[in-house]
Symmetry: C2
Subunit: 595 residues, 2 copies
């Protein structure tokens, strides 16, 4: 039933050799004492937990699914509860949390590495703690001191879990039309009534309490997105001792039967005058919720990296084992009935695509997590602001580009298995089904693309994009004169130029016709995604060249994968740029009735 081993060597390469996180942490007062050994030990322990505890529950969890036992009770698959207890006992929920509430205070980039591994091992399971961490971040940023005292220690220790309750049946993307109502009770609390759907981890048997963060409208709220407030609504109302007391009138009405992530309960949540407390200011709930949504978007990036990695690991083993046909250039294993399929060029194309997407995603997403740490904790205000801009710009790319790639990668992994890939028992088709949701939830990839192009790029006349562009041009200026880097720097410079021109062109067209933004957004995001990956692959190639003489085959593999990326994957931009430039006309001129 497959295998998973944490890719510790590559994780350490990214953290220490590429990003030099120890030195970076020295610039952040609260992480100044962090050393590489500590990080490596945490990763190694986490890797063991993921391989030994979570991974064995992945396929069985998918096959069994969650069950709704009527009357609001949800049971998770066998073993999930015990694994969660082990997770809590080992203190993993607290890893990157504030020490004021019991956290261990490690940086976000360590937590991201933990989440990569948990998602490789078991995405459906990892969504339970994942949502909790988002709720923690939201309350940490926007809760009143009382709410923080009540909820944060429980979320940090993991004895309570969290959810985000946004969607209603008639509104997913369009939160402005949501209907759930919140009426003041007169005692500082609110009575909240409405029905939420698609609530991941909305009900389960892993923890003693569940903390829902719920979007709703106050009685006097303006219509649209400016009339939405955020509330914390616990399943059990905390009593005076802060322990779960009276059952609140928030209840799971049913769970969905889905294509994938079967072991995560996707709930209808009914609120019937449920008691809740305001988080942040009235009518500014979306603002408060954005903390959680951004965390969730980065979380989808880590889910996508995790699935790409584990599917690749399994496809690779199969490609080395499975004997089928002879190499076109003559037998490679003449003593056997056929050659292992890894001799075939197209099997290698499929494997290298997965490898290049996984390793590119790891470099990008760990770097993004480091930017979040710098945004939150760097000693220099200018650096904090710079990092905040980079994170804002790149979050939609991290969510959408990585989840598109994960769907492609898991599908290629399935394809390596041939007919066996389609059979549940081999485990590969689950990765495809699980990966499919990542392109949808936390804002579809089209919404991410509009966020990138409309808000993040055109919204500030390209200012944030220029900041990322400066990183790229600095690297090109530094490395462009070195002969051994030509093969990497030249295509990087080329795609950089093309993104700049494309952005200008779309910006001009959008001033005439706003539909040009919607028409170009999706291929635009994929184009900029490749600029980002080109930058990280060129940087990784630099590090690998510096260490090639060591004889460690790791660097040789890294260089070969970089060369593959530039030769075979970056060329996708030739068509995405054409598609982005093709404009709105052929999309919009056809009358609705003619479809």
């Amino acid at each position: 039933m497959g295998q998973y081993a944490a890719p510790l060597r590559d994780m350490q390469f990214v953290l220490h050799e590429l990003l030099n996180v120890e030195a970076e942490a020295k610039q952040m007062p609260k992480h100044a004492d962090l050393d590489a050994d500590t990080i490596n030990q945490v990763l190694e322990e986490a890797g063991k937990f993921c391989s030994e505890v979570l991974f064995p529950l992945n396929h069985s969890g998918d096959q069994e699914g969650c069950t709704y036992d009527g009357d609001g009770v949800v049971t998770t698959p066998k073993g999930f509860r015990q694994a969660y207890q082990q997770y809590v006992e080992a203190g993993w929920p607290a890893l990157a949390c504030d020490p004021s509430y019991g956290g261990q205070g490690l940086p976000q980039f360590v937590n991201n590495a933990l989440y990569e591994m948990m998602n490789s091992a078991n995405q459906a399971w990892a969504m339970y703690p994942g949502l909790s961490h988002g709720a923690y971040e939201c309350l940490h940023a926007h809760g009143t001191p009382e709410l923080q005292q009540t909820y944060l220690p429980k979320l940090v220790s993991g004895v309570w879990t969290g959810t985000m309750c946004l969607t209603e049946a008639h509104c997913g993307t369009d939160l402005g039309i949501l209907r759930t109502k919140a009426e003041p009770n007169g005692d500082g609390s609110y009575a909240i009534t409405g029905t939420k759907i698609f609530i991941s981890s909305g009900e389960h048997d892993l923890a003693e309490n569940i903390v829902h963060l719920v979007l709703a409208r106050l009685p006097d709220a303006p219509s649209g997105t400016k009339g939405i407030s955020l509330f914390v609504v616990p399943k059990f109302l905390p009593n005076e001792a802060g322990e779960p007391g009276q059952r609140n009138t928030v209840k799971c009405g049913s769970i969905e039967h889905k294509m994938g992530i079967h072991a995560n309960a996707t709930c209808v949540i009914n609120l019937d005058n449920a008691k809740g407390w305001l988080v942040g200011e009235p009518n500014k709930g979306l603002n408060a919720m954005f903390v959680m949504m951004n965390a969730a978007r980065l979380g989808v990036g880590m889910q996508s990296l995790g699935l790409t990695e584990v599917a690749y690991q399994n496809a690779l083993v199969y490609a080395k084992d499975r004997l089928q046909m002879r190499a076109l250039s003559g037998p490679k294993a003449p003593e056997k009935a056929a050659d292992p399929i890894i001799v075939h060029p197209d099997v290698r194309r499929m494997l290298l695509t997965q490898k290049a997407y996984a390793e590119g995603a790891r470099a990008f997403s760990y770097w993004a997590a480091l930017q979040i740490d710098k945004e939150l904790s760097h000693g220099d205000d200018a650096v904090r602001s710079e990092s905040a801009d980079l994170v804002a710009l790149l979050t939609p790319i991290l969510k959408a580009f990585l989840s598109d790639n994960a769907f492609e990668g898991t599908n290629l992994a399935l394809q390596v298995y041939g007919g066996h890939g389609f059979i549940a028992e081999w485990g590969m088709e689950q990765y495809v089904r699980d990966a499919r949701i990542n392109m949808i939830y936390e804002g579809t990839n089209a919404i991410q693309s509009l966020d990138l192009l409309g808000r993040k790029v055109l919204g500030d006349m390209g200012a944030k994009l220029k900041k990322f562009g400066k990183l790229v041009t600095d690297f090109i200026e530094e490395e462009g004169v070195k002969p051994e880097m030509q093969e990497f720097v030249n295509p990087l410079a080329d795609i950089g130029d093309k993104v700049q021109k494309l952005t200008m062109e779309i910006g001009m067209k959008a001033m005439q016709n706003p539909d040009e933004v919607g028409a170009a957004a999706v291929p635009y995001l994929r184009t900029v995604g490749h600029l980002v990956f080109s930058y990280f692959w060129a940087r990784m190639a630099r590090v690998a060249l510096d260490n090639e003489a060591s004889g460690d085959p790791f660097y040789k593999a890294k260089l070969a994968t970089a060369r593959f990326y530039f030769a075979k994957l970056l060329p996708e931009t030739a068509s995405t740029i054409r598609a982005a430039r093709a404009g709105a006309k052929t999309l919009m001129e056809i009358d609705e009735a003619l479809f």
Copy 2:
């Protein structure tokens, strides 16, 4: 639970206005009396059967699946058996079969249209009769007169069904290493022993007998593919009256649990000295089986068209109904809480991609079926030979390009539904899961690509490709001078030139290094697939322009879709050509140990 209506208008457009099949049939002696009205009546009746009988069983069939009741018995989902009885009673299995065996003798292109609709309505169900039709064609071409008398009338009437038993656990693509043995019994029959896997429709409760066509080795057979023979192995041995008699020792050992096509039984078939009879010559079984494999590959094309069409129909309804956000250019339905999502450019991109792929596939696949009819039945030998070459060349494209597009199309349809697309109840995720197998079975799409580039194109120094090229250049010469056709003919001529150059370049490289074929094959097939689609979209545009003045909005829609195809989909070739040209180096230079 969704909807399906046979797209009769577009089917008639393709058959009558684009392909002019009535005039074509006049050139085939055995179809000379066929008229358009008959065809249309058949299509209309078939459409009703598919919408009313098969479609309502699609989702329930997926949810229920087949069950293996132990001891070789397989039960299909509720309603499947009754639907099959109706199918048989209506005479549908006989549609395109030889009147000598009870068939109705209609051309293949009518049968293809029937299969498009059956696959839209219920791919898993359609695979039962689909395999039977392949077995019919194989026995019709290669069976002895005795075997034909025994089996063909039963397959034609549909009271018996068929299978193709090729794969074994250790050999899928690589049939040369198969191990199933056939020993002569001395009475003209053979005792066949072995285990076959992945046998679609291998056991079920729809019909009174099942006719397995089994690949096996004779005792003295040479090793490899030149030692494989084909046998017919019935579940029940026909008695003297030709009715099912003694139970043969061929038995289903289990069924697979799969990602999709749940309602089709994918069987392990154990043969334990099962009685069988040779089909075709000893050791030339692959040659005989190729009739069935080619039929099956065209069948996968029809499955892929069927799924693309039905997913599109449903996504379109949802996109018109679902209210979410306002158009970027201002409200379009100000009286409602939000605009229908079809106002958004990217939703239109997703819909038009599906529409362009479905209609392009219909034109291409019906034309291909017409070529098969010409190959089999045209009065002129030269035409028959020309058509045979075109069918051989284009079969791998029809299988792989259409199934790739169907996976993309069904995924886009799911994406239009947002979160609801991921929920089983809405029916969209089933289309994605069902479509996934089409890229694998009957030869993976990589194998199709090698067949196209290695065998069909380079294998005869481009002779067959030139025959298709001549159709394209003839069209360009005819239409290229007309101003209204510039926008279609120019990109067609451009992709035609590029395919020619690319083919030459790969051919030259392949002489140095055969791995260059394997490295280029997959992006090469997608490139040629777009040449084929460009040709058919340009031809459809011509017909639409000729009829635009009629005021029928159908032609306006066709032109708009053609424009979309050239603006947004054909540009994929910019990257597939680059990927094909990038060569084998970055794939092959990395040592297996470094992956």
